[in-house]
């Protein structure tokens, strides 16, 4: 990039001591043979010296817009509050992992609920598919009957009639409405029924 610069620009880099040794050597050889370039170097050197001296003088005579100590204190005060925030934010970086867990906790709970619901639904569907013929236990208990379940223990005539009517009602309901075969009714009840038939 330096190779593409004008000679007057190279002179500025030369005065600033920003040329590499080979570049510096080439420019010095050029200066030795080019009087006009040497004059330009002198002119730039003088301008630079004048500018440096002038700005130095300005800085001596003109105070800073604010005392350096005051400026430092003001910035440092803001910096301390910001630095505290920086420290807080850096400390808050770690718990973000927990925030991530919280983010996935709710969807996971919903998914688990849906899964359980589906499993329950499938289970009920399978149970519903099982026909009445496959049902194994049906208890038919005449609720209106007296506490005594053995007809032999029924003392009065009216009680026995009540027990019989109630039992027949439930038996009919069990064999027709619920599709329960007589074979599935407990032997005791069948015997009772047979007794009543007699």
């Amino acid at each position: 990039m330096v190779e593409e610069l004008d000679n007057k620009h190279l002179l500025l880099l030369y005065l600033a001591d920003e040329l590499s040794p080979p570049q510096r050597g080439r420019l010095e050889r050029l200066l030795a043979s080019d009087q006009e370039l040497r004059l330009e170097l002198d002119r730039l050197g003088a301008a630079q010296g004048s500018l440096e001296a002038g700005l130095g003088r300005l800085d001596e005579l003109c105070p800073l817009p604010v005392k350096a100590d005051s400026a430092v204190r003001r910035v440092a005060r803001d910096m301390r509050s910001r630095a505290i925030q920086l420290g807080v934010s850096s400390r808050q970086t770690a718990p973000r992992y927990n925030h991530g867990l919280r983010r996935i906790a709710f969807p996971a709970a919903v998914a688990a609920s849906v899964l359980v619901t589906v499993m329950v639904w499938i289970d009920r569907r399978e149970r519903a598919a099982v026909g009445p013929a496959n049902r194994r236990q049906v208890s038919v208990v005449p609720s209106d009957s007296p506490q005594t379940t053995d007809p032999a223990n029924v003392e009065s005539e009216s009680d026995f009639a009540l027990w019989r009517d109630s039992f027949q009602t439930h038996l009919a309901s069990a064999t027709t409405t619920e599709g329960v075969s007589r074979d599935e009714i407990s032997p005791f009840l069948l015997n009772a029924n047979a007794t009543m038939q007699d």
Partner: protein, 191 residues
Amino acid sequence: MTVALAHESSTPVVSDEALVQRLRTGEAAAGEALVKRYCTALLRYLQRVAGEHVAEELHQQTWLSVLDHLDKFDPSSGGGGFKAWLFRIATNKANDMWRSRGREKAAKEGLRLVVDEEVPAAGDRLEGNEETDKLKRVIAQLPESQRQVVMLRYYSNLKFVEIASILGCPLNTALGRMHKAMIKLKELMDE
């Protein structure tokens, strides 16, 4: 052109980059050390390119911006390290101010600020004052782009390559502005 920054008078024990690293962890004292290190040079630079009244405000804005963008600073990217990054932010703040105020108005105000308000107190007036007043007027007459290169070179002591990077222009352009500014300053001072 060799100008000694305040911090360069003695070799800094801790590098800028180490202080930046400590500041990133929330150590405010490291930031304060950086501010002290560059306070005078940065205030002077802003004073010359933006004006007396806004220099302190821009100085503070610059440092707050440094804090806000501390994560973006990459010491390994080269280009002058922290100092160049700091002066780049300061230059951007000054440019923002110029844009927000309007170039023409700011130019007039800047001229007024530099010429009228930087006049030292009567007790401070010395024999060479006429020359310095003249220099203020001459500096104020420089185009903004040339003044920035001159002041960056003088107050930051950065290399021309780094100055070109700060200003976002080719090295050739930065050197051209510097050359024109120096010739113009010399001519005006000799009048």
